[in-house]
Chain length 504, copies 2
């Protein structure tokens, strides 16, 4: 039986593993976000009147940690800056930095309204820095060249990205004569990991970090690899036991149908797939919808990964539980998928081809080098078909290009993670780890306070970095409280900083 | 007038700058330790019965921070291990690591007797790790190949070295099933910088660091660039005002003599130089002797850089103050130099050619890439002729090979340093910064407590990492007290760790 597997793509990338091998495009290196890409995603736009910024570019060095001739190659790193509310350098007003993750920086900027919302009260300068090898911040002139082989792609790494941030921020502060302005870093998801690591590795540059939905413990078996999909499953189960059961039993049916011509015809028609070959991607397409709906199970309508109603998991389960389709599992599943992938109702058929509307395709390389996150399915507890993660298979699946092999223990060696409570109990300060427990990524999050200023904020109703989204009139009380708490903590960091500034 | 200048070689490398340009061998990349190299240095030996170890090699990755095909190249990293007193993994007995610096690891091991002295009371495993590109730990098979150009040499960097340590230690602990054994890192000079940075960057691997004579503030004008030579000058002045004055007035005389054939002849004869061309190196040779004598002004006889009597600065000043030679400045200076360079009396003449008995020649590359330490001379306060450091000259002097340019702000960007007290006051723990105030490198050291567990230990009579040397019967009280204090602090770290281990 085919093994269905959702790998460690930070936000939502989906892979299908058959017989332990990633089904990856054989001709191109990056293969992130395979299967679930659709063509109806809106490209980043800055139509929102709240999201205003100037676009800037910084001449960045390719390799900070070596001194080979190649390391001196430079590229243009994009960043967005909003100084509307900044109190200025003369008053040492704060600088809030978003440590960009795997995609267009505009996309993350638009989905980090929290920083815009709080800028006025902090008189903060806002800066959103794009991560190297994503969006426009492409070494070697273009994505085609940068992604063409491991010799050019190989400088895509979290350590290089953190050093990029360090250098850009230091230079920016100097240019603004704002050396004494406190910097607070913000990030969600992989960007949240970067924010937390940035505070730990560069305490001389950032006085604190808000690391939202940052699964820094998702590596090296620190947490249960099956926990991610268990959370997805429990999200659906929390809406309805029937919903969970229908999905759980569907995999076998889908698998059997996809093995016969008549079954494939039926799958194509039932799911309104555009092409015959899309049938091979149905399992990944559906599991992607479940995973991402759980991830983005926001309490208000949102257009982050997809344009979705409030509480999409509830809506999908409603479709599955719909009495009019209950005798036909395919139409139940279709109903759920249609909510996730076609809430606006614009699509006449689903094209499961590779699409990359948010500029994330470099993540495949990161996943296959350093971001090796063990993730499997528990066949009993989860609604997924069951898969035991193992490194060997992952390595086999990854070692497809130029002999580049995963370094599965690198992240924990470089950034820690094992016994984090003991390690950081007496080391480090000023990090907020926010996690929403409906978010599968919370499985890899820091869920307990580590010391008095490295703290965990938990929202059991929360989804993937929901705290970082723009406030809306419909926000539930718990979300208002979370943000209030975060604001209070950041204020204390800054006040403490000013006090220290004047006494040391 | 020629500008005499002693650049940032960590232990004792000396450069001469004429008209602002380094006088470097034009044919080879590494040029550290120019001028002062002599051929009478003993090669590392392990004759001391107290210094026993097994020699091991670890397969290390060339580039930890990138994922190019080249980054996967491996090399053999040497380390020395002594398990004689180790209490073993079952009792989580500690592991003491020396983070090797720029030279043969045997050399540092022999000069870090403190670790051997305290191993029994801590039941500690001792491990001394050689730094990449030094000694035997040479990528690309040999020093000739590794040092041949910047494409192979470029992976020599402090960040790569720290990651080497992290990976080796993690692997070693795993192989010993000693994952819960606390690791304390020790280092002197550049090795002390690495120890301190290792604790800051890898708190999940080392519970604490003894950073001895680690000039982590020697970068980016954090401290007065002239302070190093002022300390040397004050050391000599503290022995005798005449000694200081003779040296101070000597430079002009030497300069004038070296510009005429008869003067050169006289210099060659007076200093017993082997070759005519050695005359060009006399100023660097003498200033090297003053700098290094101040650095190694130990209270007991020692053979670290040179075989020297106790308090060599005092002995050199005695030679200068010697009434029998007081009418002849050249014979005064010769007397001092002869004590420093020929205390054993074995040399019939001085060969000022390039020698590298301790395997440090890679430092020139480090100095010219990341370890750019501003150092000059104050013409009033110091006994040196006066030189105002500037980056432009340094860069011109360094940009001689393959377009490799210095990154003078990199160290402070990556590791901090500016406002260190404010930055680390509420961040980080468990570092001892030892400095002896007679050591010129103490100018770049941390001389004040930063928080309750990042502490400074100062010995006003102390020289370069004197605390790390073997205890002797003749050690002065202050030195005994320093070591006692260090032992007490390290004990507290370990006890705290065990307590945390059992409660978290």
């Amino acid at each position: 039986m085919a093994i269905l597997y959702r790998a460690g793509c930070q936000l939502f990338c989906t892979f299908i593993v058959f017989a332990g091998l990633f089904l990856v495009p054989s001709t191109s290196l990056p293969y992130a976000r395979r299967v679930i890409g659709l063509n109806n995603h809106a490209l980043p736009s800055d139509s929102s009147s709240s999201v205003q910024y100037d676009v800037k570019y910084f001449t960045q060095t390719l390799d900070h940690f070596s001194f080979t001739p190649q390391s001196y190659v430079t590229f243009q790193q994009k960043y967005l800056i909003n100084s509307k509310h900044w109190g200025g350098a003369s008053s040492n007003s704060p600088i809030f930095i978003y440590t960009g993750n795997e995609g267009y920086i505009e996309w993350f900027t638009q989905n980090t309204g929290f920083m815009f919302d709080i800028a006025p009260q902090f008189k903060a300068l806002l800066v959103f820095i794009e991560h190297r090898y994503y969006g426009e911040s492409m070494p070697f002139g273009s994505q085609d060249v940068a992604y063409s082989n491991a010799t050019t792609m190989g400088y895509l790494s979290s350590s290089q990205a953190l050093a990029d941030f360090a250098i850009l921020i230091t230079d920016l502060k100097k240019n603004l004569t704002a050396e004494d302005s406190p910097v607070v870093v913000f990030g969600g998801s992989y960007g949240g990991m970067l924010a937390a690591w940035f505070r730990l590795k560069y305490p001389h540059i950032a006085i604190g970090a808000l690391a939202s939905s940052a699964p820094i413990l998702a590596f090296d078996y620190i947490v249960n690899p099956d926990g991610f999909d268990n959370i997805v499953s429990n999200d659906f189960r929390s809406e309805s036991e029937n919903c969970y059961n229908v999905i759980k039993k569907s995999w076998k049916i889908l698998e059997e149908m996809s093995s016969t011509p008549s079954g494939r015809k039926s799958l194509k028609e039932s799911f309104r797939l555009c092409k015959d070959s899309d049938v091979d991607g149905v399992e990944g397409w559906l599991s992607g919808a479940y995973f991402e709906a759980a991830e983005t199970d926001y309490p208000t309508p949102a257009n982050f990964i997809q344009n979705l109603p409030a509480y999409p998991v509830k809506q999908m389960c409603k479709a599955i539980d719909n009495p009019s389709s209950e005798k036909n599992i395919l139409s139940q599943l279709y109903g759920a998928a249609n909510i996730y992938y076609n809430y606006t109702g614009n699509l006449s058929c689903f094209d499961l081809g590779f699409g990359d509307p948010h500029g994330e395709s470099g993540w495949g390389f990161q996943y296959c080098t350093e971001m090796v996150m063990p993730m499997g399915d528990d066949p009993i507890e989860s609604m997924f078909p069951g898969y035991t993660f193992n490194y060997t298979e992952t390595m086999q699946g990854c070692a497809y290009a130029n002999g580049i092999e995963p370094r599965p223990h690198w992240i924990t060696t470089e950034f820690g993670g094992h016994n984090i409570k003991r390690v950081l109990k007496r080391f480090g300060s000023n990090i907020i780890f926010f996690n929403g427990l409906r978010d599968p990524w919370s499985n890899g999050g820091v869920l307990e306070d580590i010391n008095e200023s490295i703290v965990a904020i938990i929202a059991k109703e929360g989804a993937h970095h929901v705290d970082l989204r723009f406030a809306t009139m419909d926000d539930p009380k718990w979300l208002i409280q979370v943000r209030k708490k975060e604001i209070g903590i950041i204020k204390r960091w800054i006040m403490q900083y000013y006090k220290d500034l004047h006494t040391t």
